[in-house]
């Protein structure tokens, strides 16, 4: 599952203990460049730089990265295909400017996706939520996101267990049965999720919960040399993108 892949990458990469600020500057700094620079050569340079940080710096496992990239790239390619053609009075034809337009779009969107993937695949969720709290994002939103995140895993596990149990009793042996069984899993998940939520309320209350989910977040000191390196790369890529 995609979110599980992100989580694994975030907890395994070499930069998992680095400060959120450094990674956010890389991710969002290059995202900005990808959006404002002309696609050629700007977005290409951004892609190279971000992939450099992803693989040479953070050493994100290539297999996990490819699994994550497949989805946005798939969307991107299918969308770009549409730009290649035009619908005119004579029917469908190749668009004269289509290829150039499509290539520009693909390169830019790819660069932007890789920037976000860099942040998502190098930052443990605990650091992300800590960052949101420090940014003074309304607490209700952060807590809602936190619980959603936690429940995604619990509920996927329950759905997987139910599906396996159905399969063991031949519940998926024909298309018809599969449809019926899957419908039952979905129907069962809601009451189960609600029951779990109720039990969690008891569990949190037992630990003194009074409506606010405060936890002690770790804050890693920012490395100035790293920041300087990132800023330098941003400037070089920015200038090169404008001048080349």
């Amino acid at each position: 599952m995609a979110i599980g892949t992100l989580d694994r990458a975030a907890s395994q990469n070499r930069w998992r203990h680095r400060a959120l600020k450094e990674k956010a500057l890389i991710g969002f700094g290059f995202l900005l460049l990808a959006l404002i620079l002309p696609p050629w050569p700007g977005a290409v340079l951004v892609t190279l730089a971000v992939l450099g940080f992803t693989f040479l710096g953070a050493r994100v496992p290539l297999r996990l990265w490819l699994a994550t990239a497949a989805l946005p790239l798939g969307f991107l390619m299918s969308g770009a295909l549409m730009l290649l053609v035009t619908v005119g009075p004579t029917g469908v034809a190749f668009a004269p400017e289509g290829a150039v337009q499509a290539a520009g779009l693909v390169v830019r969107a790819m660069a932007a996706s890789f920037c976000l993937m860099f942040v998502a695949m190098t930052t443990p969720t605990a650091d992300l939520f800590g960052g949101l709290r420090r940014l003074k994002v309304p607490l209700e939103l952060v807590e809602l996101a936190l619980l959603t995140y936690r429940f995604v895993f619990l509920i996927t596990d329950e759905a997987a267990a139910m599906t396996a149990a159905q399969r063991a009793r031949l519940g998926h042996s024909s298309r018809r049965r599969w449809l019926r069984s899957t419908a039952m899993v979905i129907a069962n998940l809601l009451p189960r999720a609600l029951a779990r939520a109720r039990r969690m309320e008891v569990g949190l209350a037992a630990r003194g919960w009074q409506g606010e989910m405060r936890v002690l977040t770790r804050q890693v000191p920012v490395c100035n040399r790293m920041l300087a390196l990132v800023v330098l790369t941003l400037v070089v890529v920015g200038l090169a993108g404008l001048m080349l």
Binding site: A206, R207, G208, W209, Q210, L216
Partner: protein, 292 residues
């Protein structure tokens, strides 16, 4: 001495069901390890929810250090700081995105300073032997590890009483043994432990006292040695003595080990009783098989 926590003639029924607690009385003595022993579905979890104020009895009273329980917001906070509860399924109480963060939740709710909370978290993780998991995501942990995280979350609040609902449920033998060892250590540090179980071997290896639980009430409460070696009493609770106790009794009847004395807590203790000199098998040993 005033018991730290006690329940008097509790009655509680979930809406439209027969009573889950039926005239239940129980005394929890400070510094001891008490097993609530009984079959599943007998209302043990419901009892635990009463012992930390999560549920309020429809009749009867709960006393905290001799005082009638206070169900006001302040009263509950005070109560839950002194009496911590660990639910059976750790996923019902772990919510944060890293182990250390999750463990910090309780002590922060107690209003402690971040520095104090930090050292509480560190100590609790160390006590549970999971210091190396501090930065891990909870959903990447095994069942036994999650269980210890949930217990660490309670231990970090430094409660006087730790209530554990079926602590070894879902754990394999090794996980259960490790858990028993850390619970023993908590007991040695003076924490009062109360745990529910249907596993007589677990009660035998860990408990000082046992309360036999059946159909929503406590049939009898007393020292573990007495309760666990009385077949008639156990039968009334729908249980039977452990293999260990039966072998011990049979060995006593045949004069293979001294009569009376403390009930052996585990297999090693029984073997030591059967072979008091600890000599190797020289043919004169009455139970050569025990040497294998």
């Amino acid at each position: 001495m005033t018991p730290i926590l006690s329940a008097h003639q509790l009655v509680f029924a979930y809406a439209g069901e027969s009573p889950a607690l039926n005239d239940l009385s129980l005394t929890i003595s400070s510094g001891r390890k008490l097993a609530i022993l009984g079959p599943n579905g007998a209302g043990k979890s419901t009892l635990f929810l009463h012992l930390n104020g999560s549920l309020r009895p429809q009749r009867g009273t709960v006393l905290l250090a001799g005082q009638t329980a206070d169900y006001s917001r302040r009263g509950l906070n005070h109560w839950r700081s002194r009496v911590a509860l660990v639910l059976q399924d750790p996923d019902d109480q772990i919510f944060a995105t890293s182990v250390a963060e999750d463990v910090s939740f309780g002590p922060l709710n107690q209003g402690l300073s971040p520095a104090t909370v930090g050292s509480r978290v560190e100590n609790a993780l160390k006590a549970m032997g999971i210091a190396d998991l501090a930065m891990r995501s909870p959903h990447l942990l095994s069942g036994g590890q999650k269980k210890r995280v949930a217990i660490a979350g309670a231990v970090a609040m430094e409660p006087e009483v730790l209530l554990l609902d079926e602590p070894t449920a879902g754990l394999d033998r090794e996980g259960a043994d490790q858990l028993i060892a850390v619970l023993q250590q908590l007991g040695q540090r003076g924490m009062t432990l109360v745990f529910s179980t249907h596993d007589i071997e677990l009660a035998q290896s860990l408990a000082d006292d046992v309360a036999l639980f059946r159909d929503g009430s406590v049939l009898a409460q007393g020292r573990a040695e007495v309760m666990l070696s009385d077949p008639d009493l156990l039968a009334r609770a729908g249980l039977r003595p452990s293999v260990l106790v039966e072998v011990w009794r049979a060995a006593q009847a045949r004069g293979l080990c001294p009569t009376g004395g403390e009930m052996p807590r585990n297999a090693d203790a029984l073997l030591a009783l059967l072979n008091p000199s600890g000599t190797s098998n020289d043919g004169s040993n009455p139970l050569p098989a025990a040497q294998a």
